[in-house]
Symmetry: C2
């Protein structure tokens, strides 16, 4: 059950909108939020009636478990407006399933599907004016769950807050990105929470990323913690390598996030006769391919940037530069994906989801 009009949602509309004060031509990613937010509290073993109310601060006890024990998971999604002013989501069922998978791994109670879809769609209807027409414009949607129960005993909470906040976004261009292949730091452990969108996974990346920046790179390609021989993710994105004309990416695992963009690219590659190998990729084969000139592309894949081309990488003190191709897989997939997202292309996989008026 997705959208369900019988779900009770308390809606308190903001008395005024701040939309007119927003410069939609110069949006910094994730900085401006819309007029409303969805809030749903978990107490006494159940999710209570979801509320949509004016966007604003939340009050928590300083001993709330999210502050001390990091019980927090999130999702990233986008809403798109097509030329006929219809509003679309992209594979929202994947985000719904994943937030509950993340929650389960962090001992957070799962959120009901009809609350997720009904709450999200009611919120989007209220915020429709924030979703601007134009290829690349979107409303970034951030569902998240935090443990709110007071108490500094390290145990799962019995009180949680599920929320959705929304931020208008332009297409995300990061400039030329060069990455450092990690030889020392790692993102996740086998048997750990790397496959969950757990808040703590992200803070853990900031310091190694700062070191990479100091060394002249913009991001890190994470390798496996055991041997640092296998390539896993790029920054906060899944990563793809094109060697000759074959696309390579690591399989999902305990350590690797099951990205929606990642799996969509794999499906598009298969549908477009682009050879794709989902297997462990060694640092050595990528270094060898770079030296041999057969490494054509590296790119990250994620909701925020869609696809983030990587122009070069560093490993063991050596720097490797990739060729500047005019006809890239990165732009092919980005264009394909965005055309589906903006209802400009047929949707052969049934990925688009219409937000009904």
């Amino acid at each position: 059950m997705k959208y369900d009009s019988s779900v009770d949602i308390n809606i308190a509309k903001a008395p005024t909108s701040k939309i007119d004060s927003v410069d939609f031509e110069n949006l910094k990613f994730g900085h401006i939020f819309t007029d409303h937010m969805l809030v749903c509290d978990y107490e006494d073993g159940a999710w209570k009636t979801p509320e949509i109310k004016p966007y604003g601060p939340i009050q928590l006890d300083p001993s709330a478990k999210v502050f001390h024990y990091g019980q927090a998971v999130f999702e990233g999604m986008k809403a798109y407006r097509d030329d006929n002013d219809q509003i679309w989501l992209f594979r929202p069922d994947e985000n719904f399933k994943r937030i509950n998978k993340s929650s389960a791994r962090l001992a957070i109670p799962e959120f009901p599907e009809e609350y997720f879809f009904t709450g999200l769609e009611e919120l989007l209807k209220l915020e429709k004016d924030w979703i601007k027409k134009g290829f690349g414009n979107s409303l970034y949607i951030r569902p998240f769950v935090i443990a709110t129960e007071p108490g500094v005993l390290a145990s799962p909470g019995t009180k949680y807050k599920f929320m959705i906040i929304c931020s208008p976004a332009k297409s995300y261009y990061t400039g030329e990105v060069r990455v450092q292949i990690s030889e020392r730091y790692s993102r996740a452990a086998d048997g750990g929470v790397g496959a969950a969108k757990a808040a703590g996974n992200y803070a853990a990346q900031f310091y190694p990323t700062n070191l990479a920046k100091d060394a002249g790179f913009q991001q890190i390609i994470w390798t496996d913690a055991n041997t640092h021989e296998f390539l896993e993710e790029a920054g906060t994105m899944n990563v793809f390598f094109r060697v000759n004309d074959t696309l390579l990416t690591a399989p999902t695992s305990d350590r690797i996030l099951d990205g929606v963009t990642r799996k969509s690219i794999i499906a598009l590659a298969e549908a477009n006769n682009i050879p794709v190998e989902v297997r462990r990729v060694t640092v050595q084969e990528i270094v060898d391919a770079a030296k041999a000139g057969t490494l054509k592309e590296i790119f990250g894949a994620g909701t925020a940037a869609v696809i983030n081309p990587i122009q070069g990488f560093g490993y063991k003190g050596e720097k490797y530069e990739l060729p500047k191709l005019t006809d890239t897989y990165a732009s092919f997939f980005k264009n394909k994906l965005m055309k589906i997202q903006y209802n400009l292309d047929k949707d052969q996989f049934g990925w688009r989801y219409l937000v009904k008026e």
Copy 2:
């Protein structure tokens, strides 16, 4: 520089105290907080004037980075009252150094030493009545730092809140504890944040611990993520094994917290001619010792419980029961440590720290 009377602290006292409503004989760990808290904000590249104010909720934007990216670290300490009504801390310099080590690993700005000690001591002077006389009574102290800056871009924040909250505690008895040795889940990765008291490390343990509870155990002994052959920590504590009369514990590493109780036990063992080996301990040698009857004790070590004896363990479907000794290392070290903490024994290592009136 520790306590520094020239540090400016704004103090707003609570109009009334809730102390008379507290049942000090029946305290649940970490549930009741004292009348005041310390708050210090980081903004514009600097820690501002610390404030002590009435304990109460804090307001944060729903996009605050702590909720989404888990930038949060903490410490656990205790204050003790001796028979002459003097208030003592135990090795607070270790907690101070460690919170900044944790912060550095999570790209959080370090907190000034004079703010830490002056803020903490001023807070303790105000809360002195909450620190009850009696062996085992203490005030549990929770310093922590959270990233408060709004914005859903995954990057280190530029705004933080350092806080100290306090909770009165009785001696912590967990009952007979049996643990499951982890064969599948892990606590930390090489090159990860296991050595930091990072909030996200704790949430990651809840689900595997729930599975262990379902299987009839109270806690997990974590093994290394690569091979699950080496014993690392017990629940949220460091872990010690006594084989014959030798004490074994894992060395600190990327994955293992440099516990204050742990290092104090090692020092006490050395000073008391108890053979102690700080080295990697294999699951196999502990299983073999249990079978041979030479495994005398297992115990966890941490600030909250001091020492937590473990009565048995499970591994690969087998259960192992430890002998019930009358003369244990666990009680020897617990007694030694607590006597130092409560100013009942000489302090040969200089571990006690007097909170001046």
